[in-house]
Amino acid sequence: MSFPILSLMLAVPAVAAIACLFLSAQAARVTALAATLIDLALGVVLWTSFDVGGAQWQFVEYAPIFGRFGWALGIDGYALLLIVLSVFLMPICIGASWQAIEKRVPEYMAAFLFTEVLMIGTFAAQDLFLFYIFFEAGLIPMFLIIGIWGGVNRIYASYKFFLYTLLGSLLMFIAMLYMSITADTTSIPVLLNYDFPPQVQTWLWLAFFASFAVKMPMWPVHTWLPDAHVQAPTAGSVILAGVLLKLGGYGFLRFSLPMFPEASASLVWLMFGLSAVAVIYTSLVALVQSDMKKLIAYSSVAHMAIVTIGLFAFNAQGIEGAMMVMLGHGLVSGALFLCVGVIYDRLHTREISRYGGLAINMPRYALLFLLFTMASIGLPGTSNFVGELLSLMGTYQVSTTTALLCTTGIILGAAYMLYLYRRVVFGEIKSEDVRAMSDLTPRELWLLVPIAAAVLWMGVYPESFLAPMRKDTQILLARLDRAKPAGDSQPTPGKGNGGTGIVPAAHAETPAHGSAH
């Protein structure tokens, strides 16, 4: 066994979290920042030493220390990218809480560090129950973060968040028990190739769906998200939108699709239907929000729907696009919540109508906010463009109607984001307290600029992010091939279609390709 870097990445924040509980406020801040930066460095090491195109599972660790299940860790390309996203956002969250959190700082830092442990653990777990433990345990620190450091209505939001997600997950738990007993293993890599009878698959798929749909969140079980976001402190929202929402998508990708291909194929209509409703409905809801955080929360639901259609498109563009949307949305929505946090720290309100004309006295803020607004809309050159384009392309090959309906989300997205930006940043300054707001401090620049750089990197050179997952996508597609639903589109390969570079060999796999000749 090689060096246990994944265990180390879990141990560093865990130890720091316990240490924080015994430290003073300032020492806890420094400890938390140091621990998250160490984890970021380890994440970079992980990424650079990941063998792209090598073995499917890398950095594998195994220790059968829990009787019925074991300490099994290991990552593929998908998990790698999501772990890197987590460790990238964590120091930013700590930085965002540097001054905004004044009460009970040691506990706050400990809660965040525990959240980091659990997120990395969820993505790295190779054992069914180890995954479940990490997945579910994340509820505890998030419950405390919302409940202790949240807004006025924080207690209601924390309960709703906790009980909603708990109910979904417990059904998945029973399904996991059944799977481990039937297949006589708890190893995720083994289960990925285990064929459950199609009848059983449907039930298992629905049980997993109950959990992931809530986590995702999909319409109509998304209602916990706006409450949780609005009440959570800024950094809590960042981590919630940035990483915790990705657990749902990751779950579909890791469990539902490869383990239950037949059920996935037969229930595509459900995913597409709910997603199409989500895109249009939540976008329209976002349009009329007067609270900034709520608006961004609803936009998250819409973006996550683009993820689900991409995942269930059963082709390389869809799946890779969905992953890109997840990564891009993690960065962009995180950054948008930070942007809201910046002005909330100054004026202590999230009412859009209280602001206006920030471009005059906060030019640097206006610039960065504009970049993230454009990225959220999916402007070419930013991360979300790549993901949304691929995802919708993939979907088009399967269901033209769904693709059409979901593409309206991009137009609506432009509408609500630009409307938000206009009301907050443009126009005249309406009141003296808004005029007194100062531009970004160096600390805030340090938080936003790295995200901006990452957003542009993903938009300009997405290959860095597509390469690690390409092989995994091929493996997944090989597994899904037998159940692949027939598409209703008839794309004809035109001139230069093979040279886009983003989607190599995509059309060769489209069944409609043959009939088009």
Partner: protein, 486 residues
């Protein structure tokens, strides 16, 4: 089989009985002044009984022509019972010393020893009459313990209520035993099992009588484990009894009664599994649901924990419903972890005292505990999340084990309904966490006791994720214990 070998197998009970009688004499002559000495001596007697368990007492033999079983299952249950009893003795002095109007008397540890002796006989019973004698010994000692604060009306009420309802349950149980005896011709578990196997339960007179006997026996046992619909006494008794006694009631007798129920179900009525499984499933789901729903409105933390214990018994019964060796092992795993969570929670309740040292029992008095006593709040939060079954705390593994057994036995509806009900339970456990962490402090507690603090820390570490490291040992041990029943 010679007599010495029989006595060697019953050595733990002999140690406890002789120890209890000797200490009773000391108490009678020494008076209240001997309380401390008797308490420590009682703990030593329990330790002696624990040592005595290692020999033939858990070797798998039958003593006195099958009346008494000295198998690994009984051994396992006794370890839990003795530990819980010792904790109940250790907790008492601080509680009574600081509570106005109540004094600890040396009879307290003696009664606990007698109760422990009775529980040992319950879990070792190989015959319905051994079972009944053990049960009564345990219960009679418990009735007195419940009313130990003589001047407190609530305590007296608890004792009386417990006694009246307990006597009723004993009557039901005895009636069931008499029916079973009448229709099988024996009170030995093995012969009852043989009679059940030989009689097709089709509905003729003989099988109908047997079934009635079975139902009455289970009803009597359900009272002892406080499973719905025989749970009514639990909240009142738990609320009224002195807190160390409540901690005792929620732990040792519960383990004993569950172990007894398992043994009766598997050993005596194993062939009638289909019949008793329906009863167990109903009691299980009803307990989980009622334990969860009724707890929501409670303002008194002891009442809340009473409903929590009803709720937990429901989960333990899921393992019994499976009726497999894994199921029985999961019940024992559940009770082990439950013991740590419950004793830990009650230890925290014991710490809830106002500035004058008088006990507080309202949930509201926990407000803001995370500011005033962060360690205590963290411990109680760990116990609550663990009781709710949220990973990564050890309480999750307890639920994991019973649901694993249920799914393995193909009881999907039971597993799914049980799991959904557990979300309701999570609500009120969260309420305690919310009170401690989200609300503003209203007052500070008196300084705690070092011994109690140490015990809380031990329980909290066991329930924390570190407990998972104990899984291999625990599962090997529980499986060995369960195998001795089949």
């Amino acid at each position: 089989m010679d007599y010495a070998a029989n006595l060697a197998m019953t050595l733990p009970e002999l140690v406890l009985a002789v120890g209890a009688i000797a200490l009773m004499l000391v108490a009678a002559w020494g008076g209240p002044a001997s309380t401390k000495a008797v308490s420590w001596a009682a703990v030593a007697v329990l330790a002696g009984a624990l040592v005595a368990l290692t020999g033939p007492a858990s070797g798998g033999g039958d003593a006195f022509y099958g009346l008494y079983r000295a198998d690994a299952f009984a051994g396992f249950a006794k370890v839990l019972i003795y530990i819980a009893s010792a904790v109940a003795i250790l907790l008492a002095p601080t509680f009574f010393k600081r509570t106005a109007g109540a004094d600890l008397r040396p009879e307290y540890p003696v009664l606990i020893l007698l109760s422990a002796c009775g529980m040992g006989m319950m879990v070792s019973a190989g015959d319905l009459l051994t079972l009944y004698v053990g049960l009564e010994l345990q219960s009679l000692a418990a009735y007195v313990l419940a009313s130990f604060m003589r001047q407190d009306t609530r305590s007296a009420e608890a004792g009386l209520k417990y006694f009246v309802l307990g006597a009723l349950a004993s009557g039901i149980l005895l009636y069931g035993i008499s029916l079973v005896y009448g229709f099988t011709g024996s009170t030995l578990f093995d012969e009852i099992a043989g009679a059940f196997a030989a009689t097709p339960l089709t509905g003729d007179t003989r099988s109908l009588g047997l079934l009635f006997g079975l139902v009455f026996v289970f009803a009597g046992l359900a009272f002892k484990i406080s499973a719905v619909p025989f749970h009514m006494w639990t909240p009142d008794v738990y609320e009224g009894a002195p807190t160390p006694v409540t901690a005792f009631f929620a732990s040792a007798p519960k383990v004993a009664a569950i172990a007894l129920a398992v043994r009766v179900a598997v050993e005596a009525m194993g062939p009638a599994e289909v019949q008793w499984r329906q009863i167990v499933i109903f009691a299980s789901l009803a307990s989980i649901l009622l334990g969860a729903v009724a707890a929501i409105g409670q303002q008194n933390i002891k009442r809340l924990l009473a409903y929590s214990s009803i709720n937990n018994v429901g989960f333990a019964l899921i393992g019994l419903a499976a009726g497999t060796p894994e199921g029985v092992a999961s019940v024992m795993t559940y009770m082990t972890i439950y013991l740590a969570m419950t004793l830990g929670s009650f230890l925290v309740v014991l710490q809830m005292r106002d500035a004058d040292g008088q006990p507080l029992e309202t949930i509201a008095s926990l407000a803001g505990l995370s500011r005033t006593r962060p360690g205590l709040a963290a411990a109680l939060a760990i116990f609550m999340f663990s009781l709710a079954g949220i990973p990564p705390l050890f309480g999750f593994y307890a639920k994991f084990a019973v649901f694993y057994a249920a799914v393995q036995a193909g009881l999907f509806p039971l597993a799914v309904i049980g799991v959904v009900f557990s979300v309701i339970g999570a609500y009120y456990y969260l309420r305690l966490v919310k009170t401690m962490y989200f609300d503003e402090p209203t007052g500070t507690f008196d300084e705690g006791d070092k011994l109690e603090g140490g015990l809380i820390a031990v329980a909290a570490v066991f329930v924390s994720p570190l407990g998972y490291l104990a899984i291999p040992a625990l599962s090997a041990w529980t499986l060995a214990a369960a195998a001795s029943l089949f």
